[in-house]
Assembly symmetry: C2
Homo-oligomer: 214 residues x 2
């Protein structure tokens, strides 16, 4: 079983075929970053069509056991994710609406501050805000994974602590490997591990040592 | 000349007539709080109609000298304001679009954190964020007043310092008069005054001493 913790390429049939031939069982796919509510629902329609028109090798994953089905039927399971909370704006009810359309991962922030939390590029990371705390509770209730990639250090610590279910840092590396604003301090990784969290290592050039970059 | 620093009642003809009879020259009127972009543009259309249908006693104020015209023509000048930055979401170009529709005041936050800054009810006030700094620069360029009512202490200090033009705290009282989360510390008021800023005193019950409440 081979699961890609996050992919953000511009997909086409050729790339799906290559991923299939490489033996991938599932992919957490990025649908949006800065898109607003309406644009994000439209992106979900686009992805539904993409999966439908490639359904010989793709299927939409909505629960863990769907990944086993993908494995058995020799397909790639696609897990929908948002790299930002811009789509929900200030409306907590949108979390369930996006969940019901298939969303299973959402980042609280993408580099910058949001109504929910602080981004990794802010001078002062607020940590998880009043609204962010409520959204984490709602994501926990539904079974949507809190993704802390692109979050600030304090936001990571707060969210790991607040979440009743394990959280993910879907794409980042440890700072002890390569020090970068997007990478993660060792003590945060230990907190993540203590709560059974997940980190997916990143091959994005700036998250790697210079000598490792292609 | 009598200018109301902020009003948020549900206006109707009777209330406009009373304000007119009382001799008000201008009113900073709240159009929206949590409304999104589309709803906020619709609220501006609604207010345009409201002014048009009461144009014997009302006029839309878009620049300072319009207030003098209101005085000369015996009308109340209405200044459009938003009590939150929710309408611009993450799109800096919306500042100019709302300005061109007549908006002249905008709060960075309304109690809670936004992508721009920290609210007064947050445990940890981020101060002005990366995006907030750009929005203040854009508001300065256009001539839209930064309103710090409902902002956190650090956000007030940051915005007073960052803004190239005087800012306003349109509705709040000093904490030395009555200590409340929505009221303002004396040192912040001194910074505001040093930059030729404005504070409008508030008669909202929780901003007043108990003995002063009606």
């Amino acid at each position: 079983m081979l699961i890609d913790g996050l992919e953000y390429v511009n997909w086409n049939r050729d790339l799906f075929e290559k991923a299939h031939a490489a033996g991938l069982t599932a992919i957490h796919a990025t649908l949006v970053y800065w898109e607003d509510t309406q644009e994000s629902f439209e992106k979900m329609n686009y992805w539904d069509d993409l999966i439908q028109s490639n359904n010989d090798i793709l299927m939409h994953v909505k629960k863990s056991s769907d990944i086993l089905v993908a494995k058995e039927t020799n397909k790639i399971g696609i897990v929908y994710g948002f790299q930002n909370s811009a789509p929900i704006a200030n409306d907590i009810f949108l979390v369930e609406k996006f969940f019901s359309r298939g969303l299973r991962f959402m980042q609280l922030t993408y580099n910058n501050q949001t109504p929910l939390a602080g981004g990794c590029y802010e001078k002062n990371d607020s940590g998880v805000s009043r609204f962010g705390e409520m959204v984490i509770e709602e994501m926990n209730r539904l079974g949507m994974i809190v993704d802390l990639s692109h979050a600030g250090r304090q936001t990571c610590l707060d969210a790991i602590n607040l979440s009743k279910k394990p959280v993910a840092i879907s794409h980042a590396n440890p700072n002890f490997f390569h020090n970068s604003i997007r990478n993660i301090d060792e003590d945060v990784l230990k907190e993540l591990a203590n709560k059974n969290g997940f980190i997916g290592l990143s091959v994005y050039p700036y998250h790697l040592k210079k000598s490792w970059r292609l």
